[in-house]
């Protein structure tokens, strides 16, 4: 790993100021960034640790009943919360216990790994990503593999989740890395169903709109029977072909609907 200057501000304002420097990079829990830096795929000159920003940690509910999770909140804290059961269940299966004690929701979303779990929960829930400057709707936030609406130096301070009537996340794990080969988050709201798929597409997380329409009319795995997903544009690698991933999308969506509670 190349060396860098380490700074640990105590407020969002100080973190934003520190990120204005040349080649400055925010550090969440470091569970992806540090391995990336070890491989010299990233070499910031200044690393701005967000772990000292207490105002970005914690979980609460706002007046609209949304679950508001600070950007610096760990996966372990979300797993333990339980007020949005499907979200907590999803968080409880990210990485392993030690990774969950460090990794943060803000870090995961800023990175937008195409096989990460969190993007599917945020997109399926229609959550709002709050930064130091603005609020970004989930539908506008994810812009392809490792790409987001975040500007240079913008920090995710909070994520606000509307809590669905029913929801479930199903992950088909890639057996070596335990990342999602395909992950499906299904969320049923009073006004319709949202289905978000991670792990599968070359474009990163996406909504499976045909399934959303079918499930909004009839929230049952049988509603998916007549649908099929094309393997085109799906990730093909030694773990599975695009066609295989496309097949898994339908299977895992069905399982998520069956398990949704």
């Amino acid at each position: 790993m190349h060396n860098f200057e380490f700074v640990k501000p105590g407020t969002v304002a100080d973190a934003v100021a520190a990120l204005k420097g040349d080649e400055a990079q925010a550090l969440g829990g470091g569970q992806t960034l540090l391995p990336t830096m070890k491989q010299r795929l990233a070499a910031p000159e200044t690393l701005v640790a967000l772990s000292g920003v207490d105002e970005m940690k914690g979980i609460c509910k706002d007046d609209e009943g949304r679950l508001c999770i600070g950007g610096g909140t760990t996966h372990a804290a979300v797993a333990a919360d339980g007020s949005y059961p499907a979200l907590s269940a999803m968080a409880s299966h990210i990485g392993d216990p030690a990774v969950r004690n460090r990794g943060t929701i803000g870090g995961s979303l800023a990175n937008n790994d195409p096989a990460a779990c969190y993007p599917s929960a945020v997109l399926a829930s229609g959550a709002t990503v709050t930064t130091n400057t603005r609020e970004i709707a989930a539908d506008d936030y994810f812009q392809g593999m490792f790409s987001t609406a975040l500007e240079e130096g913008e920090i995710i301070t909070e994520v606000k989740f509307p809590i669905p009537e029913k929801a479930n996340y199903q992950k088909f794990v890639q057996p070596a890395s335990r990342f999602a080969l395909v992950g499906v988050f299904v969320a049923k709201f009073a006004d319709g169903v949202r289905v978000a798929i991670t792990g599968a597409s070359e474009e990163g997380v996406f909504r499976w709109t045909e399934a959303e329409e079918a499930l909004s009319a009839n929230f049952s795995p049988a509603a998916l029977d007549s649908l099929s997903v094309s393997g085109e544009g799906m990730i093909s690698d030694l773990h599975g072909t695009g066609a295989y991933r496309a097949h898994l999308i339908k299977v895992m969506t069905g399982r998520a609907v069956s398990a949704a509670a």
């Binding site: 790993m1 190349h2 060396n3 860098f4 200057e5 380490f6 640990k8 550090l27 470091g30 569970q31 540090l34 391995p35 830096m37 070890k38 690393l47 640790a49 772990s51 372990a76 990485g95 392993d96 216990p97 030690a98 990774v99 004690n101 460090r102 335990r178």
Partner: protein, 161 residues
């Protein structure tokens, strides 16, 4: 260089570290606490698991500077005050929960974190919790058995396979 001060196994320590110094390097190279092993250095294997402020973390994937002011516990801090093995360590010995021993420090630290969270875990819960700790010798069976025994549960029904 940054000066860091932390409590390691009950003792206050400090040192000058580079930004990039990993907690695992600080423990091993600066403090000479070489019980924390570095296996993969990619946060997969779990040989480097230590506790920071009571939570298990992979010391190879945390900066030493991030542990400034923290309470750190390593395998060297696990024995009882009189030097005898702790319940978990003794259970690993009694149930042959190790062969080469390389993964053992991380296994013991992860087991301690589990039993703190969940004092009477089921066998499935133990196996799930060990997801981030890799052992290439034992096939995990006796590790699981040792952790179950350390939790005070009867392991006579778990056959030695």
């Amino acid at each position: 260089m940054t000066n860091v001060t932390m409590t390691v196994n009950g003792k206050s320590v400090s040192g000058n570290v580079e930004g990039r110094t990993l907690l695992s390097s600080f423990l091993r190279d600066d403090l000479r606490l070489t019980g924390t092993h570095v296996g993969c250095d990619t946060s997969q294997c779990g040989a480097c698991v230590v506790h920071v402020d009571g939570l298990s973390v992979k010391a190879c994937t945390m900066l030493a500077a991030e542990a400034d002011g923290a309470e750190v516990k390593t395998i060297e801090g696990m024995a009882n005050a009189d030097g005898s093995l702790s319940v978990i360590q003794q259970a690993f010995q009694d149930h042959h929960g190790l062969q080469c021993g390389f993964c053992t420090p991380g296994m013991v630290m992860t087991a301690a974190a589990l039993l703190k969270e969940n004092p009477k875990p089921s066998e499935t819960e133990v196996r799930d919790y060990l997801e981030g700790n890799i052992c290439r010798c034992t096939g995990y069976h006796n590790i699981v058995k040792a952790i179950m025994a350390a939790s005070g549960q009867d392991v006579s029904a778990i056959a030695a396979e």
